[in-house]
Symmetry: C2
Subunit: 389 residues, 2 copies
């Protein structure tokens, strides 16, 4: 643990709890990015000599991400961010007017706004899927069943898509993605399952969920501690068959030199055009560094140890209300502080070099613990929160 932490300059001068916003970039990852740029300039930038290097770096990060997702590399599309991964495969699906989109009430505003625009243009209907209150009132052991029941109750014969995050960015609860996928397979219309994996990738073992969802979209710059600007999406085999690409460029085309070309049949179908190749080298390095810290299960246990320590400490501070009724299943710890503006609390802590964030819906504070978080940091945050009173 000490080793990875020591490689992160961002953690040297502050007490950091915003991994769910952006993870610190380890120095070896930045060095890999810079080295990649150097190599591109040495061999290229646009020469026959540089293509093997570029292909190798793209393949390396695609393989790493595929391994984490438990899918073949052909099911991974590289994207600029989570939103692109969520939304790009959606636009080219064969929608029919009246199709219903079932959207969880803890989804990120970006994805929701994109679905609203899709619904407007394709004459689809959006229906809410209420999970937030269930998260906040159901003990962890019963939550999978409760969340599944929420989906089951909201489904109608017209349901065509379910949108649900794996790890909810506001409450910090984990959704039973594989069970939802199984439920949807039994539905007469077999609705597609879109999973926002912004918070789960790099913090939870994701293979089971990623392999069963139709669209499992993630980013490298949060819990994976890669550079900003590179993420991806694991898409199902049926989605690769059913969805046409929308933002089409040379990378989408099987023969990039011809507009008459068919689209790639694999994940490259949803890739677009030139992107920042050195970011692939950086993310691959960050993924290696994480893997060196243990399996996904071992890392989650460490993340949980930290979030549990924080959650328990919060119970002892007057006026603090945690969103979850039990220690969190992952690294997101959300809470409110009675009678205090969340924005003001963020600023007051920030002045002390302690960084958490606030969310709009519900209006709350959120602190994240990663495998690099120390007990001392958690205790410092708890003390600072206590001192506000």
């Amino acid at each position: 643990m000490a080793s990875l932490r020591a490689l992160m300059p961002a953690l040297a001068n502050k007490t950091y709890f915003n991994y769910g916003g952006q993870g610190p970039l380890p120095t070896p990852s930045l060095e890999a990015i810079t080295a990649s740029w150097g190599r591109i300039q040495e061999l290229g930038p646009f020469t026959t000599a540089v293509w093997p290097f570029i292909e190798q770096e793209v393949a390396r990060v695609r393989r790493s991400l595929a391994a984490a997702c438990g899918v073949g590399a052909h099911r991974i599309s590289l994207t600029e961010n989570v939103t692109s991964g969520c939304v790009l495969p959606l636009w080219g699906l064969p929608w029919q007017p009246g199709d219903e989109l079932l959207i969880g009430d803890c989804e990120h505003p970006g994805v929701v706004a994109a679905c609203q625009e899709l619904a407007r243009r394709e004459q689809l209907t959006i229906k809410p899927l209420a999970v937030q209150q269930r998260c906040r009132s159901t003990p962890q052991a019963q939550l999978p069943e409760a969340a599944l029941a929420a989906v089951e109750q909201a489904l109608t014969p017209r349901s065509r898509l379910v949108v649900l995050s794996h790890l909810l960015w506001n409450t910090g609860a984990v959704m039973p993605i594989a069970a939802v996928a199984q439920l949807l397979q039994g539905h007469p219309r077999q609705p597609w399952l879109l999973v926002d994996a912004a918070q789960s990738m790099g913090s939870l073992p994701v293979a089971e969920a990623a392999a069963t969802a139709d669209i499992y979209a993630f980013t490298g710059h949060k819990w994976c501690c890669g550079p900003e600007g590179l993420g991806g999406v694991a898409v199902s085999e049926r989605l690769l068959e059913q969805a046409q690409p929308t933002l089409i460029g040379w990378r989408s085309l099987a023969h990039e030199g011809s507009a008459a070309s068919s689209f790639h049949r694999d994940g490259r179908r949803f890739e677009v055009a030139t992107s920042c190749l050195p970011l692939c080298s950086g993310l691959a390095t960050s993924l290696n560094l994480l893997e060196a810290e243990g399996t996904a299960e071992q890392r989650l246990a460490r993340i949980q140890a930290g979030s549990a320590r924080l959650w328990r400490g919060l119970q002892g501070i007057p006026g603090v209300q945690t969103l979850l009724p039990e220690p969190p299943p992952a690294g997101l710890v959300s809470f409110s502080l009675e009678g205090r503006s969340t924005a003001a609390v963020v600023n007051q802590l920030g002045e002390q070099g302690i960084w958490i964030r606030r969310l709009d819906d519900p209006d709350c504070l959120r602190a994240c613990t990663h495998i690099t978080t120390t007990d001392d940091e958690i205790d410092l945050l708890l003390e600072a929160l206590s001192a506000l009173n």
Copy 2:
């Protein structure tokens, strides 16, 4: 000239003519990128303390690009690449079945394929706009008139969009964008004008064209010599009013915390979500370095001096046929070599450390001269081509 060239490691070990594929990255730009990452880690990566730095770097590159385009900064959307800039604003326009898209026959396959898919979904019709033969047979002085006549002849009462590059990537001819824009304004349906500026931005003065087109999409990584993965698009005021965003994320939303938010009314409307901020610092640095070399007009004169030297030299090599009948108006010099496979020629030259590329349509070779190109390099290429015979 020597100064910028000396700052480009890519030019130190090869004879490089692929600026139209990707420009060399100057060392100060890479240093600016690395420093930007360092600063983000020092202040953030996700803290109240880092937002002013990020806003400053985004604003700086947006202002530079807006100045080059001769438009207000509110008309610039930052994108990952040219294709995104071309295509993103298209999808959300108010299309009607039967609308006609007039697409130049020298357009890049990526943009054409995207328009084909748009046409399929919205039941639009694609009509060809023949400019290639005119470029190859018309003297430069008469080309604007000839190209304009081609557009005029192809227009019908159903025309709704014209797609035309500013500087054609295959023939190297310049299209009279401002005159086409004026022509379209007089058409009863006032078709939108989409301009692929992949080859013009950083090589030609673009302000007049960029300010009159509806969509003027460019990249920073070709003639601007910025990092790969960052480009932009200048959009017209009417496009900002008429087009809804499609790939929607937190950056598209006026209030990023709420899905009920309206979209930004300015260029951020077509921006999506997290991208690689340090690339902004790198591109801004590259643009500054270019500006230090002279005005856009002065730089074009230097580019033309090189391409004219190359074009003239090519006339003396048996079997060489240049695509243009006169020295090129910019830095793209395309030609064929009778009886030789273009792919084989690229490889043979590459073995000598001389890098040009081939194109599919028409099957030809292309060498680019930039302000960093020396007469010695041009002469070396000419000698190597002569020696093939």
